[in-house]
């Protein structure tokens, strides 16, 4: 991995951390479930960086949290958060970012807004919940349907984040095309500087 890639990975890890500081928004229409911006960072990491670097960025973020940085929304951090029922979601994040990046690359001839939305939805929702719901079931001793019921309240918020991720990707692709690394040919970006 080049130093440049390392900086990108660290950058998105920090972005996920910074998004954790955005205060949760509770939308009354949805029963007041708090929506945090953090998974938006997970989606963006995958969509912007591509599978490998995107997944690594989320892993680095989780590593920081495990080391004791209070980077999860609400100022949570430390090894303790991996002992809570939501650990499945945390484990799903890097995989979700990987899948989002992979889908983004596989749909490279699609319109960027649509491709980014599709990638963010598949990676950031489908994959993340595929890990998260069994995690809740296992850690909380619930059946899978009950665990799904306990998690489903967050889906509307995640859909909003998918839309945001797609819009941000499109804007960045216009303003700073080189930054959408998942759409630039492999290594092209590294060669220009390194």
């Amino acid at each position: 991995m080049t130093d440049r890639s390392l900086v990108h990975v660290a950058f998105y890890a920090a972005l996920i951390a910074a998004l954790g500081l955005v205060p949760p928004v509770a939308i009354p229409l949805m029963g007041g479930v708090p929506i945090t911006a953090q998974t938006l960072g997970v989606m963006l990491a995958g969509v912007m960086l591509g599978p490998v670097r995107g997944g690594l960025a989320v892993l680095l973020f989780l590593f920081l949290v495990a080391l004791g940085a209070p980077f999860l929304s609400g100022g949570r951090g430390g090894w303790g958060v991996f002992m809570t029922p939501s650990v499945g979601f945390l484990i799903g994040w890097p995989v979700g970012a990987f899948v989002a990046g992979w889908v983004m690359r596989a749909t490279s001839d699609m319109n960027i807004l649509a491709a980014a939305g599709l990638s963010a939805a598949l990676g950031g929702i489908v994959v993340v919940y595929a890990f998260g719901v069994p995690g809740v079931a296992l850690m909380a001793g619930l059946s899978l349907p009950k665990a799904a019921l306990a998690s489903v309240i967050y889906i509307p918020g995640d859909l909003i984040k998918v839309v945001l991720a797609a819009l941000i990707t499109q804007t960045v692709a216009r303003g700073l095309p080189g930054a959408v690394l998942s759409r630039t040919p492999t290594g092209a970006n590294d060669k220009t500087v390194n």
């Binding site: 390392l6 950058f11 890890a13 951390a17 949570r76 951090g77």
Partner: protein, 202 residues
Amino acid sequence: MISIYLRGDSWAHRTPAGVKLLAVAIGSLFLFQTASIWIFLACLAAVVALYASLGRQGLAQLKLLRGLTVFLVILVALHWLSGTLMEGIAVVLRLVVMFLAANFVSVTTRLDDMLEAVRPLFRPLEWVGLSSRKPALGVALALRFAPHMTQIFSMLREAWQARTGSRTSWRLLAPFAVQSLRMSDNVAEALKARGGSEGLSG
């Protein structure tokens, strides 16, 4: 450095990070093997005693549980509805014990020491020709980036507030992304100019 670490010089602070991490790992395995409420209650008492041994500041750390309360209440309710109330209570107790024990390690270990303790885990990277130094550099970079990015965002928000009167908007996200990406490009070039990650000591 930003961390949930609690400054101090207790016995727990002096215990090597590796030993503490190992103890929590073994303890968690044990907790998953048992389902007795009495054992959980005993463990809970033991963990609370650990915090108490740090003094009043240590006990104050127990308020971290507040973030979990809502979820734990929902959990007990779900178990109660399906007629497994006792199992629900046992599950909640196990979660609380595991969370507090793991958190105890984070509270009594400096982030640097923690990084040092887990560094051997990155040795395998060298077998595939990668530097085991890179994860540490990644950690340092991300820790530096995070506050800088919040700064960029608050600057954008102030500008937005001055012009529109409203506090914040999702419209700020795009300029925020572009500005902070530029910043990361500058850092990448600065790192390159100083000889890259291989040129750094440590």
